[in-house]
């Protein structure tokens, strides 16, 4: 099976600083791939390079077998860490706008947008400006933008940040629904219980370098840890002796 995401020996230097060093990983269709690391470890820069927002200094960053450009917008759904929707525009207009960006017709985008709003219980808020919605409701719209058009790759950067448990479950169910349909998911989070629940495989990076890579089970075994959280802490506290691929 061809990987949806293929990153090989990817390095990125911004200004004088090397942000990512020779990073390699793959994400396969239908799997949830946890992309872990402390703040400033290079996760967002890697994602931006995957999406063509930054140009790789070295190596390959491929989505569906080629370097991503805006022409492939239909194949990607992105939920960035810094939420970025148009707050002066209504919920449905936000969904429609990004749906159209992904190649949907206006009527298709409206239909898909309304279906999503109904799924997350916000159909009555469709015409409200985003700034009138609560943080959690805006978060749902942001996920809706990402899943519009059923892309083959979802990149979700802390998608459950700030959500209550009920909405968190709702959101994770939606993610699972898309992986069941074959979408690959790059899941960035600091919540290790979400990793344990959702992730098939993971990578942990520190200072732009890969410190652990493999299935959840393999990584735990390699680091002789009972949880991913323990693995993470041992990597960042410098107490781990294991390194690299599991």
């Amino acid at each position: 099976m061809k990987p949806t995401v293929y990153v090989k020996d990817f390095s990125l230097t911004l200004g004088q600083k090397e942000i990512v060093h020779k990073l390699s990983f793959e994400v396969k269709p239908g799997e949830v791939f946890a992309f872990l690391g402390a703040n400033g470890s290079g996760k967002t820069s890697t994602v931006r390079s995957l999406l063509g927002l930054y140009e790789a200094t070295k190596g390959k960053t491929y989505i569906n077998g080629r370097q991503y450009t805006a022409k492939d917008a239909h194949s990607v759904g992105y939920l960035p860490e810094e939420r970025g929707l148009y707050t002066r525009v209504s919920a449905i207009d936000n969904l429609m706008y990004f749906g159209e960006m992904k190649g949907m017709t206006r009527s298709e985008a409206r239909k898909a947008g309304m279906e999503f709003l109904a799924e997350v219980g916000l159909e009555d808020k469709a015409n409200l400006k985003l700034k009138k919605l609560s943080g959690g409701q805006q978060q749902k719209i942001q996920l809706g933008v990402a899943v519009m058009g059923n892309p083959s790759l979802l990149i979700l950067d802390e998608p459950t940040k700030g959500l209550d448990p009920v909405n968190r479950k709702l959101l994770l169910d939606i993610v699972e629904k898309h992986t069941d349909k074959g979408a690959a998911v790059i899941y960035i989070t600091h919540l290790m219980e979400e990793v344990e629940r959702l992730a098939d495989r993971l990578i942990i990076i520190k200072d732009g370098r890969s410190e652990a890579y493999g299935t959840v089970k393999e990584v735990k075994k390699k680091f002789k840890a009972s949880s991913i959280e323990d693995v993470f802490v041992s990597i960042y506290n410098g107490t781990s002796k294991a390194k690299g691929n599991a």
């Binding site: 960035p80 159209e100 960006m101 992904k102 206006r106």
Partner: protein, 408 residues
């Protein structure tokens, strides 16, 4: 193409659906209307005051000791001439408040060129009116020996000139030829004040609220920036249409009522149109608009939102430089300062439009100014598209020159 259409639609409706957009658009003409109405009320109030003054003036006595003031003229103006012997009595009446005023022409008026007025109370308008009445009675009396009333009127008020001007060997149409190019110049100022800023706000807002990262995930920088520019063009057209509609309503009211009056012999249907000045005017308008939109986009990409907003003030101030030197721009177009601001890109649109309006911009100068504006506008647009991907994701710091001109 469909994505570009979506961006344009998004940019356009995001702005025109805002209540603030229409509030801003309506507020400006509303303020002008309010001022206009206030002037109307003040005018009405002045009329009432003047009627009272006119009535009070009838209670002003006129005493002539100089022998220069004609009692017939005094009587024909509605005043009563009194003998010199009544002077002291009349003065006391004014002092006691029993009489509104007294005008006294002394015996040495010819030598001193001074006459006296006595006023009851401190009403400035009334006092000025008595002064003016005194002057008018004296002036009319002095003119009286000229003869007929018409001659006196002519001597007092002078005659107006009827000017025929010639251009290129044929009779030209005088001041009305300024109206169309002048309207284009005004249109540019409206665009500058109301529309150019939207491109800056649009980019700065998207950088500030991080939606830029989302947009650039799904769109090429070129599509996004071109979509924004076309969106601003449509917003501008909407504004011009709105102001044009208000202007048309105002003119209709002017033509059909006495509320406002157009100048005598002014016929809108036969406005002269000089094709050369109109074409250059439209050229300055369109290229000037693109130039300023590109400059605004450039600083929005280059700088963080707040700094960009502060810096943009320059683009609102500099275009008005020609108005600071208006007298020189109108009378001495070959002055080095006027020449400089005619060709300096940021002052060129307004200076060229003003000079084009008054007809002191030669075809050569207009072509050169337009060419410079076009080159700078194209270069700025090219720079915006080149720098956009780098600046769009730089939320905190301005882009360095090194980054702007780096290959990657």
């Amino acid at each position: 193409m469909s994505r570009l259409r979506s961006v344009i639609r998004h940019e356009y409706f995001t702005v025109v659906k805002q209540k603030g957009f229409w509030a801003y658009m309506i507020s400006m003409p509303a303020i002008f209307l309010l001022i206009f109405v206030l002037f109307g009320f003040i005018g009405q109030s002045n009329n009432t005051s003047l009627e009272k003054v006119a009535s009070d003036l009838k209670n002003v006595a006129v005493v002539d000791a100089s022998g220069l003031v004609s009692s017939d003229i005094v009587k024909s103006s509605g005043q009563t001439p009194y003998p010199v012997s009544d002077y002291d009595k009349l003065k006391k009446e004014v002092e006691a408040g029993d009489r509104k005023g007294l005008i006294y022409y002394p015996t040495d008026l010819l030598q001193t060129a001074k006459y006296e007025t006595y006023i009851s109370g401190v009403d400035f308008t009334f006092s000025s009116s008595v002064d003016a009445l005194g002057g008018a009675l004296l002036q009319s009396s002095l003119y009286a020996p000229i003869g007929s009333g018409e001659k006196i009127m002519l001597a007092q008020q002078g005659a107006t000139s009827v000017t025929t001007t010639y251009a290129n060997g044929t009779t030209s149409v005088g001041f009305t030829r300024f109206i169309v190019p002048g309207a284009i110049a005004v249109m540019f100022l409206i665009i500058l004040m109301f529309s150019i800023g939207y491109i800056l706000t649009s980019i700065a807002d998207e950088k500030e609220n991080r939606s830029m990262e989302m947009a650039l995930t799904y769109l090429s920088p070129r599509t996004l920036i071109i979509g924004k520019l076309i969106g601003v063009v449509l917003i501008t057209l909407t504004q011009l249409l709105f102001f044009g509609l208000l202007g048309a309503i105002a003119i209709l009211i002017a033509v059909n009522t006495d509320f406002m009056q157009l100048p005598a012999n002014f016929d809108l249907s036969s406005l002269p149109i000089d094709p050369v000045s109109v074409l250059f005017g439209l050229g300055f308008l369109i290229v000037g608009f693109i130039l300023f939109a590109a400059l605004m986009a450039f600083i929005a990409v280059l700088l963080p939102a707040k700094q960009a907003n502060n810096f943009s003030a320059l683009f609102y101030i500099l275009p008005f430089v020609p108005f600071w030197f208006m007298a020189t721009v109108l009378t001495d177009p070959s002055n080095p300062v006027v020449q400089f601001i005619t060709y300096f890109p940021i002052t060129a649109p307004t200076t060229s439009l003003v000079r084009n309006t008054v007809g002191n911009l030669s075809v050569g100068e207009a072509t050169l100014s337009l060419a410079i504006m076009t080159v700078v506008a194209v270069l700025t647009l090219w720079l915006v598209i080149k720098v956009f991907p780098k600046g769009a994701l730089e939320f905190q710091n301005p882009l360095s020159l090194r980054t702007i001109f780096s290959k990657k």
